[in-house]
């Protein structure tokens, strides 16, 4: 709050009273509520005083002042409502479990803000409460926030609350928007390489094999594959070598994920398995032939929809009893050596 009656050195009891008053929410429309900020309460109290004086005295200039101040309040309210009505919701990113995600996303040209202001977005995603803020000005919407979700999973959200004090800071307008959102929290990718595709094996089996092109670096890629001569400080500029010999191997494009958790094995191991599967899945993005079997469920990763379904399935996957598909491919499973 930029300006506060506390700045005016009001007595403590008055500030306490203001705090009580700002807790009062007034229904505006269905799903819309209005409450006043501290300066708003003072403003409204002053406005009531002006109107009382105007009505008592019949002084038309006081009527005019009261009407002007009331109109100011209404127009401010209208602009706040307009702002909340127009805000375009952000696309929520895929998060990584137990990691802090700092979001800063600027959208331009998607909406026209009736005034400059900040919109706060709150939503209950599963059991997690997430908050985001947006600065709105002109046709720009800058979403920023910081999330951290501990566990992998798919977190659905059915209702979002948008709040703003724009444009005057005198009141808070709140609205509830019914949405169908899912926040995908994926495990930490853990780099691994199938036996026949391991860089070590690659080096030993195809010594001197030349790489034929470069692709952009993806988090989790082996440092040995990075073309360091071309690399600069930022990971964005890194490129990863692609070898001709590895193109010939087709069967590693099929991964079979075994969801069975051997008895006595901790759940952490299962999460690691998911991390490895996610690493592999990330690498297959855009692949023409890749297939993923999660349990017996098959996903053709060349199709976008299937790829997304696979990502969702990976986020939701839990230890199960189902077997694995009887097709060629790399099996990723947990094995209890002690058993």
């Amino acid at each position: 709050m930029a300006y506060d009656p506390a700045e005016l050195k009001l007595p403590a009891w008055l500030l306490l009273l203001l705090d009580r008053l700002i807790c009062v929410s007034l229904p505006l429309f269905p799903c819309w509520k209005l409450s006043f900020s501290r300066p708003g309460v003072v403003f409204v109290a002053g406005l009531i005083g002006v109107w009382a004086a105007a009505l008592y005295s019949g002084n038309n200039l006081l009527y005019l002042c009261g009407a002007m101040l009331l109109a100011l309040l209404w127009v401010g309210l209208w602009q706040g409502v307009q702002l909340l009505g127009r805000v375009v919701l952000p696309v929520f990113p895929q998060l990584q479990a137990a990691s802090v995600y700092v979001m800063r996303r600027q959208q331009e040209g998607l909406f026209s803000s009736p005034c400059s202001g900040m919109v706060q977005l709150e939503g209950l995603f599963g059991r997690e409460k997430l908050k985001l803020n947006a600065l709105c000005y002109g046709d720009t919407l800058l979403w920023y926030g910081r999330f951290r979700i501990q566990d992998r999973g798919l977190y659905p959200c059915r209702q979002l609350q948008l709040t703003t004090a724009a444009p005057l800071g005198l009141f808070f307008v709140r609205c509830l928007r019914q949405v169908t959102l899912e926040l995908v929290v994926l495990p930490l990718p853990i780099a691994w390489f199938p036996q026949f595709h391991s860089p070590d094996n690659h080096d030993s089996k195809t010594p001197g094999d030349a790489w034929h092109d470069l692709r952009a670096y993806i988090a989790g890629d082996s440092p040995k594959l990075i073309h360091w001569r071309k690399a600069q400080a930022e990971p964005d500029s890194w490129s990863v070598k692609r070898f001709t010999s590895s193109d010939g191997i087709q069967h590693h494009h099929c991964l079979k994920l075994d969801l069975r958790l051997p008895a006595g094995m901790p759940l952490v191991a299962f999460e690691k398995l998911m991390g490895q599967a996610w690493f592999w899945l990330k690498k297959q993005s855009g692949s023409k032939h890749a297939q993923l079997y999660i349990g017996s469920q098959r996903y053709d990763l060349c199709h976008d929809a299937d790829y997304q379904q696979a990502v969702h399935a990976l986020a939701m996957a839990e230890p199960g009893l189902g077997g694995i598909a009887a097709v060629d491919g790399v099996i990723l499973s947990l094995c209890n050596d002690a058993a």
């Binding site: 200039l61 000005y137 092109d213």
Partner: protein, 647 residues
């Protein structure tokens, strides 16, 4: 969320001018009041100008500024002890406080102080001024208050978004202008629609009294009607504002006499009003019915003049809904119990023909008293009147007087004013009227002098009659045929000289003032009901057209929206970059799957690797909003730059 230092700097830069402007709007509104001495309102204005000029070097700490506030408080307390009105003393204090907050260190608290003091000043001015110019600081206040509040709100929202501090820019001027226009429209609607409860308290609008000599119980010759004072004292207009009523008004009411005080007792150097035994008191809100004849209804806006007399025209039929208690004596003098300290609106019915006269009592001894008539005047009357009946003789006196010269600049002898006048044969209306009245008495006809206004000036721009101080006039009432009959011996030059040619701009200004009085200051519950009824009536009449307009507007809005949507789709399709890029990729041996990012594609044929990587990076920068989005021509340009290069 606490604003960081950089944000505070921005706050200072943006809000300094806005909050100063809010404060100055309040000062400007109060400066319009005649009750506030210029020295008080000029203090904060000069300080603000110095503040703008000298910047932060012209500032005091909060403690130092508070000393100014306390000094002002003490000063005002002394003023009250010396008899200054409480409301005015309070505004003096507010203005000294305004000086303190102008020179105070610009903190958030200071900005709040400025806004609050500015608002208080505006509200105080609502009580102490009624100038039409008040609308300018009011509108300016709406604008600056809106901007300043928005600015203070935005200043607290400097955020650390993704590692970079972002200050919320102010809303664009255009959008705020729309908002403030909406504020003005809503304020006008609220002002019109809200009910009025008039209790008339301390907060009622006040108006300084216009000084006016000659309208009192005792008038010295030479004190009345000698100055060319252009101050408007009354504005009269037909109640119904249609063309027929205005034309009727112009035809019948422009050249009337407006009767004020009747003076019967001549003292030798002036006139004194005779105390009447019988008065009739009419209470506030009642009507005074004088005659039942039909006439036209007019509204008279009487300024707060220093006298209490109600000026009424020939042919007055009735006065409606009196704004205060009114006394009427046997001479037809209408008078408020005390001079109102604000403008009053009087509703009158006036006969079309001016000969319709109020019944007045017969003459008393004062109206025939010859004790102070100068000998020189008696001799002059005898010499001038000749032979015949008293009426014929009086007619000759009038003819003779009308042949003399009307002159406002001729001095009036304080001891023997009439003798001096008869010698010089020039003077102003008061001398002509006095001479005629005394001549009538010499001839045995009871008479008296009446001070009032004659004619007036038609305002073409606003369609109303303006009566200025320079239209003040004296005439005579003579008892003839059992009636008091008006006689005017003032030469015709008087009317020519009183009709000064005022520029068109002055007429427009006076018209604006009357509109302000009519629609703002004097807007009452009855006006509101009348306006609503008129609107309802108009609405019923125009209903078919309004319905048609509504349907057409809806159709137009739908059509425009559709056209806009089609245009947007077409533009989006035109500006879609992927099809173009995919065609280029195919031409270079790459087939991209749907939604496949560029960075996962192999190197296109005939393209250098570093160039391709740079292209992909640039593409992503624009796609994710870091850089400006590309148009088709931008993409074509980038693709052209992808030339083969040896690695």
């Amino acid at each position: 969320m606490m604003p960081p230092e950089s944000s505070l700097a921005v706050l200072d830069a943006r809000t300094e001018h806005l909050t100063l402007a809010v404060l100055l709007c309040g000062v400007a509104s109060l400066a319009l009041s005649d009750f506030v001495a210029p020295i008080y309102w000029s203090l904060p204005v000069v300080a603000a100008l110095l503040r703008l000029w000298r910047g932060s070097s012209m500032q005091l700490t909060e403690m130092q500024a508070s000393f100014i506030g306390w000094a002002g408080f003490l000063w005002v307390a002394i003023e009250i002890l010396f008899g200054r009105a409480l409301v005015v003393a309070f505004t003096d204090f507010l203005l000294i406080l305004a000086l303190a907050v102008v020179v105070e260190l610009p903190t958030v608290r200071n900005h709040l102080h400025r806004m609050l003091v500015g608002l208080f000043l505006l509200l105080a001015a609502a009580v102490l001024t009624d100038s039409v110019l008040y609308v300018f600081p009011l509108l300016a206040m709406a604008w600056f208050l809106y901007r300043a509040s928005g600015c203070l709100y935005a200043a607290g929202l400097a955020v650390d978004a993704g590692g970079a501090t972002v200050n919320l820019p102010a809303t664009s001027l255009r959008k705020d202008l729309y908002a403030v226009l909406l504020v003005a429209v809503i304020a006008a609607l609220l002002f019109t629609l809200l009910p009025r409860f008039e209790f008339h308290s301390l907060l009622s609008a006040r108006q300084p009294h216009l000084a006016s000599s000659g309208f009192s119980d005792s008038v010295r010759l030479g004190d009345f009607g000698r100055q060319v004072d252009t101050t408007v004292v009354m504005r009269v207009e037909p109640l119904e504002r249609n063309k027929a009523s205005v034309n009727q008004f112009k035809q019948y009411l422009l050249k009337r006499y407006w009767r004020g005080v009747a003076l019967s007792h001549f003292t030798g150097v002036g006139w004194r009003r005779t105390k009447e035994k019988h008065h009739q008191l009419f209470l506030k809100g009642r009507d005074i019915a004088i005659s039942a004849a039909s006439g036209m209804s007019v509204v008279l806006y009487r300024e707060a003049i220093s006298h209490a007399y109600i000026l009424w025209p020939d042919g007055l039929l009735a006065l409606h809904t009196l704004p205060g208690n009114v006394e009427m004596d046997g001479l037809g003098v209408l008078q408020f119990e005390r001079a109102p300290d604000r403008r009053e609106r009087l509703y009158m019915d006036v006969a079309m023909q001016s000969h319709q006269q109020l019944e007045m009592r017969p003459p008393l001894s004062d109206e025939s008293d010859k004790s102070h008539i100068p000998n020189k005047l008696s001799a002059w009357v005898t010499a001038t009147a000749g032979r015949g009946t008293a009426v014929e003789k009086l007619a000759r006196v009038i003819d003779t007087l009308k042949g003399w010269r009307y002159d406002l600049n001729t001095s009036v002898d304080s001891v023997h004013p009439l003798a001096y006048f008869l010698t010089n044969k020039r003077g102003h209306c008061e001398l002509y009227a006095t001479t005629l009245a005394l001549a009538a008495r010499t001839l045995g006809l009871p008479s008296r002098v009446v001070n009032g206004y004659a004619r007036g000036e038609w305002n073409e721009a606003g369609g109303f009659l303006m009566i200025r101080q320079l239209h003040a006039h004296s005439w005579v009432e003579v008892w003839l045929d059992d009636h008091w009959q008006r006689m005017d011996a003032t030469p015709a030059d008087h009317y020519q000289s009183s009709y000064l040619n005022f520029p068109r701009l002055d007429q427009l200004w006076e018209s604006a003032k009357l509109s302000w009085y009519r629609y703002v200051l004097e807007f009452s519950g009855a006006d509101r009901m009348g306006l609503l009824q008129q609107l309802w009536h108009s609405l019923k009449q125009l209903a078919p057209w309004l319905g048609l307009c509504l349907v057409l507007s809806i159709i137009l809005i739908v059509v425009v929206k559709q056209i806009k949507r089609i245009w947007r789709c077409w533009k989006q399709q035109k500006n879609q970059l992927w099809p173009l890029l995919d065609r280029w990729l195919l031409a270079h041996g790459i087939k991209r799957a749907q939604s496949q990012p560029l960075r996962t594609l192999p190197l296109p044929q005939d393209v250098g690797k570093s160039q391709w990587l740079a292209f992909v990076r640039a593409w992503e920068q624009q796609a994710y909003g870091v850089d400006l989005p590309w148009l088709k021509r931008d993409l074509k340009l980038h693709l052209k730059q992808l030339r083969p290069r040896k690695e």
